[in-house]
Amino acid sequence: MIDPYYLQQLAIGLSLGMTYALMAIGFTLIFGVLNVVNFAHGEIYTLGAFAGLVLITASAPPVAAVVFAALAIGALAGFSLERLAFKPFRRFTDEASLKSRAMRESTLLSSLAVSIVVREALEIVFGSEMRSVPFEYLINTPVRVGPVILVTGDFIIFGVSAAMLIGLQYLLTRTRIGLGIRAVSNNPLGAKYVGIDTDRTIIMTFVVGSMMGAAAGILVGLYYGAIFPAMGFVPGIKAFVAMVMGGLSSIPGAVICALILGVSESMATTFVSSGWSDMVAYGFLILTLIFFPNGLFGAGRERV
């Protein structure tokens, strides 16, 4: 029988990992599957959280409405982001792929710039301190499951992640839209030639991915009870790490690696102070980039 202490530690790590997985799913859809370099996903996550917070402080509606608000804001934000920071750089869809490296770097810079503007705007409007979520909305009531203690949020996040994961896998592999997304990511010009509306496909992917990001934001916000403008930056990087470790275009892979990351991080904090815990993610990233060019599971990367 395993010592319950270690089981609890594992549970803590898995919970942490699930919060990363929640964000990694939407992130991987846009970056990994659609093959678009998006540096602003962390801010969509934050916007989702703030949308929920604003609604809560304004009219104290039921939790479902809060999540719905986050989803709506996420969809709107994703759409706007795509139109603002990505569409203008697709003017050169007819030029040779020589342009593509420059274009990807432009979109990296433009999405980075947008993310800065959004984050700073949030700081100006809401201030940079942490806002706490009112007690009634927190989803961290403890629940005993055998030898370990989890919280209600763990189940909710797990459920939502599973739903998103299954939904996306179905979408990507069994539907025409999903096929369209994969076609566009593989060869945008070719996809156009066979009649796929690349613009619409890209917009839809952004909207779906951003809704997931926003949902992640509000759920994590309700889980930890703290919402602040810079909250998306570090989780965004960790979602990126999970995605790269998972082989870039595999959403299930990203989820598994997010869990690995969460468990590793919480194990690390038993040895060093929590200030260093982010090092785990950065370390994994560097190691994966250098030693596992095809991700941990050899699912393939080198698509730039």
Binding site: V37, A85, L108, I116, E120, W276, D278, Y282, L285
Partner: protein, 337 residues
Amino acid sequence: MNASNTRQGWLVPALIGLLVFAVLPAGLAAFDRGYFYQVANVAMIFVLLSASMHLVTGVAGLLHLGHAAFYGVGAYTAALLATKAGLGFTWTLPLSGLVAALVAFLVALPTMRLVSIYFAVATLAIGQMLYLVMLNWVEFTKGPNGIIVSKGLELFGFSLSGRLATYYTVAAVVMLCVVAISRLSHSYYGNALRSIREDDQCADAMGVRTVRLKMEAFTLSAFFAGVAGSLWAHMTGYISPGDFKFSESILILAMVVVGGLGSLPGAVIGALLLILLPEGLRGMGDFRNIMVGMVMFLSILFLPKGLLGEVSALRLVRQQLGAAWRRTDNGIGIGWR
């Protein structure tokens, strides 16, 4: 037909020298407000940071998202050498540069073969890791409390800590470094770096040792960032991790992008713009970062070549600074001397 117009060759540098070493200090001394001196010094230091970033990102094409961390390595080296070993600026200046360059070299060794976007993310991770070290290794770096550097600038024992002397020292070091960066960028070596940016596979086929040159560009830019760090440490007298976080790397990147990727005059202009503008529009404190983001975004969208794009900048340098090998029949300079 080998003559470059020697009269034009020294005119512009002379004017710049006059501005920086005579006109500006005269103005500073006349107004004699500590605040103006501070702004001038900060602007010069960021000119150096921007110029060093120009070399690695503008010329060599390596998107670097962690440049401020090497600036920080230099600053911490200077601060620690000054406070723990009692060394003066004469020593900390070169050592800060060398330590930053060494760290960059070690970082570059495993990561240089990564493709562009992944290299960029790797530099982001490295920058964050260095930042975490500054923040958490409290025994060594004093963590978030930062380090107070009581030794001002000096040279070979000669104290230069008065306001005007500080200004002249900062200006002299920055000018010297910018000239060095100019000679690197505006040369056939610079052309080799540019070819790597344009098409590194093809450059390799032309005999350019791409991996080695990328490492050189990365290491050299870190050296200059480290030098800027030592200037900062001695000039302001206090450093803390917050001076070197990710948003500072983005600020420097924005300077280069706004000025024009590949253009050294552009990088200088970008630095001056993004430092002086928020100072000019006083009470902008909180708005600085949002302004940086907006300026960067608008510039990428509407002025992708930057304020003074590479093509114009290279022509300018060849015309005005006599850097060309010869002139074509139309009087345009080509090649490098």
